[in-house]
């Protein structure tokens, strides 16, 4: 299998605090990778560096075999990487449509928006996601939606562009059981369509259920990597993680 994205020896610090220390990870085509680690292990920093929100201080970012310089969020999206951020990255005062197309608007020449097309596509998407029980107008502001519905908007945005890699940062936090199940179904669908997922979670049972491979992070370093075949169940994964961290 070939890697969609590979990070090699990536380091990042914020004002003297080292958040990532020579971290190397890769995501192959069609696999679901689970990133685990305790609070403050650097999961979110790793993700934000991977999707171009933070610029790494050191190290390489390789997209489909080619190193990319001056990596940023816009380049990541062009490369087919979409992210559902922990904070969902929504603008609550703007409409659902504007949020779904944020940063990747459908444009005419000279930058004017293809408004009708955007509304049509957005309406189709929110039906597809099925995150809402009642009929929601794509032109109403995101601020009127519930937490689960907002997550639906963030996911709709990630799937609209046929991304090859979808990064989900703690996507089930503060969601109800049914909503959590919907996120899992979504990950399954993405995987079935041959695309890749990088999944970050607090809940080791959630991560175990949906991932093919696990990466354990501790204090900014990748301390262990293993395949799902190598372990028995979530309890075993928990033990592996604890051992890896205590040795570190």
């Amino acid at each position: 299998m070939s890697a969609i994205i590979e990070l090699k020896n990536v380091s990042k610090s914020f004002g003297g605090i080292t958040a990532l220390k020579k971290a190397s990870i890769k995501v192959d085509v069609g696999e679901v990778v689970g990133l685990i680690g305790d609070n403050g292990a650097g999961k979110s920093t790793l993700i934000k560096t991977l999707v171009g929100v933070h610029a790494p201080d050191d190290g390489q970012i390789i997209i489909r075999g080619n190193e990319v310089k001056n990596w940023n969020a816009s380049k990541a999206r062009e490369a087919g990487i979409e992210t559902v951020f922990q904070d969902r990255a929504l603008c609550p005062q703007q409409s659902i449509v504007w949020n779904i197309f944020m940063g990747k608007e459908l444009k005419h020449r000279f930058g004017f928006i293809r408004e009708k097309e955007q509304v049509r596509e957005a309406n189709k998407l929110i039906r597809e996601i099925g995150f809402t029980s009642k009929l929601i107008d794509a032109e109403s502001p995101v601020g009127n939606l519930s937490g689960g519905e907002r997550q639906g908007v963030a996911i709709a945005r990630a799937i609209y562009n046929n991304a090859e890699l979808i990064v989900l940062d703690e996507p089930t936090t503060a969601l109800s059981l049914i909503e959590t199940q919907k996120v899992f179904d979504f990950v399954d669908n993405v995987k079935k369509s041959g695309r890749s997922v990088l999944f970050i979670g607090h809940n080791i049972y959630h991560v175990y259920d949906i991932s093919d491979r696990f990466i354990v992070l501790d204090r900014g370093e990748v301390v262990h990597q293993l395949n799902k075949n190598d372990i028995e169940g979530p309890e075993a994964l928990m033990k592996v993680m604890k051992d890896a961290v205590s040795k570190h």
Partner: protein, 324 residues
């Protein structure tokens, strides 16, 4: 609920702020009409208002963009003077008036870009930084011009005078230009990537950055638009008066800002209305003449200006606070 009712409700919901501003404008006009029917029915009163109203419009409309982006600029009132000064100097040097205008507009845009860079890269509060720039630029104008005004009556013989500030069907040409500018800005604000990114940046800059929007560039270009609008206002003011003077434009500072907020654009960023701002300018422009027309002494003018501003902004509270 029937579909018709729903459409009506949507219309109010989405345009509440603009409709509110229209409401204040109508109420104000009614008060003046009842208070001083004879004066308010005189066409030359409206004509005099419409001479300078477009100048305010050029300043206020770009400010809606900037306030929506979550920033503020006070320096525009001095950029107004600076661009007009450059225009006047070049004109006096014998350059073609059209070229003088273009360079003048460009100078305003450059000042706006510099202002934006100061805020974005210097990480300064736009309120404080632009307050500094307001005095700095105005101070420079006093020094550079030796506090002397420049007049250029000869411009009235040039074709460009008729095109920009002449009259068409009895209406000053600047009204048409300001209308054109406002319509263009409306589309830029609501239907163009530039305006949409301004909304996102003002609403949640972190989200915008995470989605790959160049937040710094969006902020700087919003400042640029304000500088450009101020330059337009300054040049039009020069043409209307045949004169540049050292304090030109300074008096518009607070009135233009008031027009933005009376127009229904809130201070917190992410939302705003161009249509509302048009009525905001209307309120500001008529407020001054109306109070005097009603027979109050000029002493009362500021008192009523303030009262109208407070009541209008209180009224806008009913359109709801910030959604999070």
């Amino acid at each position: 609920m029937s579909k018709k009712e729903n459409t009506f409700k949507n219309l109010i919901g989405k345009n509440g702020r603009a409709l509110g501003s229209l409401g204040y404008f109508i109420i104000l006009m009614l008060v003046f009409l009842i208070g001083a029917p004879e004066v308010m029915m005189r066409p030359n009163l409206h004509q005099s208002v419409f001479v300078m109203l477009p100048v305010i419009m050029f300043m206020v409309i770009p400010l809606v963009f900037l306030v929506t982006a979550g920033e503020i600029d006070l320096s525009f009132a001095s950029t107004f003077g600076l661009s007009a000064y450059i225009f006047a100097l070049l004109l006096k040097a014998g350059l073609d008036p059209l070229l003088c205008i273009l360079i003048g507009i460009l100078s305003g845009a450059v000042v706006g870009i510099l202002m934006g860079c100061l805020v974005v890269y210097g990480r300064l509060s736009s309120l404080v930084a632009s307050l500094g720039a307001l005095f700095f630029i105005r101070g420079f104008l006093f020094v550079a011009s030796d506090s002397k005004s420049i007049s250029f009556m000869e411009i009235s013989d040039h074709w460009i005078y008729d095109v920009l500030v002449g009259k068409l069907f009895g209406v000053p040409m600047q009204v048409y230009w300001a209308a054109l500018f406002t319509i263009f800005s409306y589309y830029l604000y609501r239907k163009h990537v530039f305006g949409i990114h301004i909304h996102h940046v003002g609403d949640n800059p972190d989200s915008a950055a995470q989605m790959g929007i160049n937040v710094n560039w969006v902020r700087i270009s919003a400042f640029m638009y304000v500088g450009l609008g101020a330059a337009l206002a300054g040049i039009f003011s020069c043409l209307i008066n045949f004169t540049w003077w050292p304090t030109q434009g300074f008096g518009y500072l607070l009135l233009a800002l008031a027009a933005v907020f009376i127009g229904g654009t809130p201070t917190w960023g992410g939302v705003g209305t161009i249509v509302g701002a048009v009525f905001g300018v209307g309120v500001i422009a008529y407020m001054e003449v109306g109070v005097v027309a009603m027979g109050m002494s000029g002493v009362w003018r500021q008192f009523f200006n303030g009262l109208i501003i407070i009541l209008a902004i209180l009224g806008h509270r009913f359109h709801g606070g910030r959604v999070r």
